[in-house]
Amino acid sequence: MFRYYLKLGLLGIRQNPILSGLMVAAIAIGIGACMTMVTIHYVMSGDPIPQKSDQLFYVQLDSWSPTEPADEPNEPPDQVTYLDATALLKAGNARRQVVSYRSGRVIEPAGQESRPFEIDARSTTSDFFAMFSVPFLYGSGWDASADANREQVVVLDRATNERLFGGENSVGERIVMNGDSYRVTGVLDEWLPIPKFYDLTTGEFNDPESVYFPFSVSIDKEIPGHGNTNCWKPVPDGGWQSFLNSECVWMQFWVELHGDEEVREYQAFLDAYAESQKALGRFQRPLNNRLSDVMTHLENGEVVDQSVRILLVLAVLFLVVCLLNTIGLLLAKVMRRSGDICLRRALGAPRAAVFSQYIVEAGVIGLCGGALGVLLTWLGLQGVRGLYSDLEFVKNLAQLDWVMVLTAVVLAILSALGAALYPTWQACRIHPASQLKTL
């Protein structure tokens, strides 16, 4: 029977090409607008590290001023101080712990004619790569002893290795950054976590840094951060050392914990640490330490832009308007064909048959609308890219994957079926005799 209804449906579409075309267009435009925003929202709110996102925890310690919170209503600062980061690192109470911050370095290539260039760098500890599952093309990160011995080692990203070594395996080679020589231990493969969850303070959707080198070296060389530095208390005289000992927050601290038990233990450890600092006159606020897994951290950081959320709401309402339009058009179509329905009913078609016929027809229209909608979504995303063409990262956000294509088609079919329910019900209600006389 399905094939018969399909045939009837296609016939119905052909009989009223303008009306059917309008319906397909209404669904396609609604789907296009809605899915453009859904796609951007989906990419922005995606899980950047799905296999581990519930095992990685961002640490926030409330070391802020006794008179006011770091952020209303009572948020702890979004980064940690050097004092606390090194203390937690030393305690080593988690499976893995990583401290890092973003800085800038100037690389001086070996050749005479090539000019020095500036890149973004990340100062971090050896566990960074394993913890965040960073893929390597050649070699590996450095080990804990390199951190301890302040070895001048470096990991390059793929693009920088391309630029410096033409893409060859450069493990063991040396590069010069700001006058110091570093030994390459590894080269990263393509790595683009969206959002850049491990450091939200330097642009949630910026590219990862180009080079990575030991935190201990970076502190030794007095390399300042390129992200936010926030202080609630003046830094006393004394240069770099007094800055390190200050209450300024400027680095990110992550731990890896497996299971609730470990999370509870680590939380208890953090609280105990805060208590121990209170004894030294620090941490004058009530205990307010946070351990947030990746998705919670992204949520706290309001990674999804407000504009995107506004547009998503309006785009969904836009789809509603298009569907109301479709329902109206379908209703018109059913009314126009009421004679045909009466005749079929008179010839013995049960209500269910009329229902099936129109629902199948709506499904076909939904499918067409969905297909066209995917095209419009793609166009919409191109449009959004065009609007934001000055922001490089938008091209990573405005991307259609097969999940979204499938979502678009399914949403279109469901929309069409949903829109068809009332008109089809009306069609079923048409009394077999009502129109025959005037046929």
Partner: protein
């Protein structure tokens, strides 16, 4: 003339009309809120930064050699820059308005730890700061050359003088006006700073900050390995001066990188890119939505006309003129639109209240509601005009035709 019967006829054939009314209602809710957001963002984008945006550009100076003498390099660069043809003035500083990255401090009217302070954006400048940015000094005086010095990396003391914006002055000392000049405020708990001048306007680097009008000039040149030259050119000379400046700086000293040259015009565009894009997307939504709703009205009206051909003929036979038929359909649409618009008004306010709550948007201006109502009424009348005209052309003889 015949609202009563039209209305009664409408209520007996609800479904199609309810759909259109609902569509108009949701459309109105979206349009009103979209326009409110467009207005809000446009208002943000229209705020002046206070600087001479047309003729300003800046570039980053990155030093990387261990033995580079930054003060010597910068002083030499500044002397060279200020001597270049087409250049009005130049400074070495940390940021510019709208750049979304800068330095902020708290200023308090009383010394001591934990006193209430107000955030202020800090620009490190010398006595050329006012001239270079093109800001207007409305009270007090500029920095004297002897007040400006290079910082001591080991010290966290702040210079004893500062120039603040009118907005900052009003925040610290409400109702004192120009009397703020000569007063002392405190930075870093107890470091006194005497206010020597007031600027009419100078925005902070962060356009999203609610204290965006609060800025301060500090007479200090900092030894930054990543600093910026801000250069003001003669009107119309900017694009000619940029390559000359880049070449001069790059050639004069190889121990640094000159990068990220950007004009203030570009900076403004980048700074408000998200707002501008939102405005465009919302305008697009408003237009497309209006068109779709208009087409919906055309579709329903056409259908309704073709379904009622015989009735139209009968009315004509009973003495209706063409004008009367036209009026009938126009009035019918007016009634449907009115229901939709009334519902839309309620929906628009409800949606706005929810958005205010969820997205911290501002309330819609009251006049947007009648404006959107009038617009949708007009759209409805325009949309129905075609089908209504076709209805008026139905010949009266249709009434006697056998089906």
């Amino acid at each position: 003339m015949e609202l009563g019967p039209i209305w009664r006829a409408l209520t007996r054939n609800k479904a199609g009309y309810i759909l259109i009314a609902l569509q108009i209602a949701v459309t109105m809710a979206i349009i009103v809120n979209a326009i409110a957001i467009i207005q809000e963002r446009s208002r943000l984008m229209a705020r002046p930064s206070g600087v001479d945006e047309e003729n300003l550009f800046y570039l980053a100076n990155v030093t990387f050699k261990k033995d580079t003498n930054i003060p010597a390099m910068v002083d030499e660069d500044l002397a060279n820059l200020r001597a270049m043809p087409g250049v009005v003035d130049a400074i070495f500083t940390n940021s510019v308005p709208l750049r979304n990255g800068g330095w902020s401090m708290g200023l308090a009217t009383e010394p001591g730890e934990g006193t209430e302070s107000s955030g202020v954006a800090v620009y490190f400048v010398d006595e050329h700061g006012i001239d270079t940015f093109g800001v207007k000094l409305v009270a007090g005086r500029n920095f004297l050359p002897e007040e400006v010095d290079w910082n001591d990396p080991e010290s966290s003391r702040w210079p004893p003088t500062g120039i603040i914006t009118r907005a900052m002055a009003d925040t610290l000392f409400p109702d004192e006006g120009d009397g703020v000049v000569g007063k002392t405020v405190y930075i870093n708990d107890d470091n006194p700073v005497q206010i020597v001048g007031i600027l009419e306007r100078l925005q902070a680097p962060w356009n999203g900050w609610d204290g965006v009008e609060r800025s301060m000039f500090v007479p200090l040149k900092r030894e930054m390995s990543y600093g910026r030259y801000v250069i003001r050119t003669e009107p119309g000379q900017r694009d000619r001066v940029i390559p000359a400046v880049e070449k001069m700086l790059a050639d004069s000293n190889r121990d640094r990188i000159i990068k990220d040259t950007r004009t203030m015009t570009e900076t403004r565009i980048r700074s408000y890119l998200g707002d501008a894009a939102l405005v465009k997307l919302l305008s697009f939504i408003v237009i497309v939505l209006t068109v779709i709703t208009g087409l919906g009205i055309v579709g329903l009206a056409s259908f309704s006309v073709s379904r009622r051909t015989r009735q139209i003929g009968t009315r004509r036979a009973l003495g209706a003129t063409r004008g009367a038929i036209l009026r009938y359909f126009m009035l019918e649409n007016f009634l449907i639109s009115s229901v939709g618009i009334a519902l839309g008004g309620i929906l628009a306010v409800a949606l706005n209240m929810w958005m205010v709550e969820t997205f911290e948007l501002t309330r819609i201006a009251w006049y947007l509601i009648p404006l959107a109502m009038a617009m949708l009424w007009i759209v409805g009348q325009l949309a129905v005009a075609g089908p209504a005209r076709r209805a008026s052309m139905v010949p009266p003889a249709v009434a006697t035709r056998a089906i």
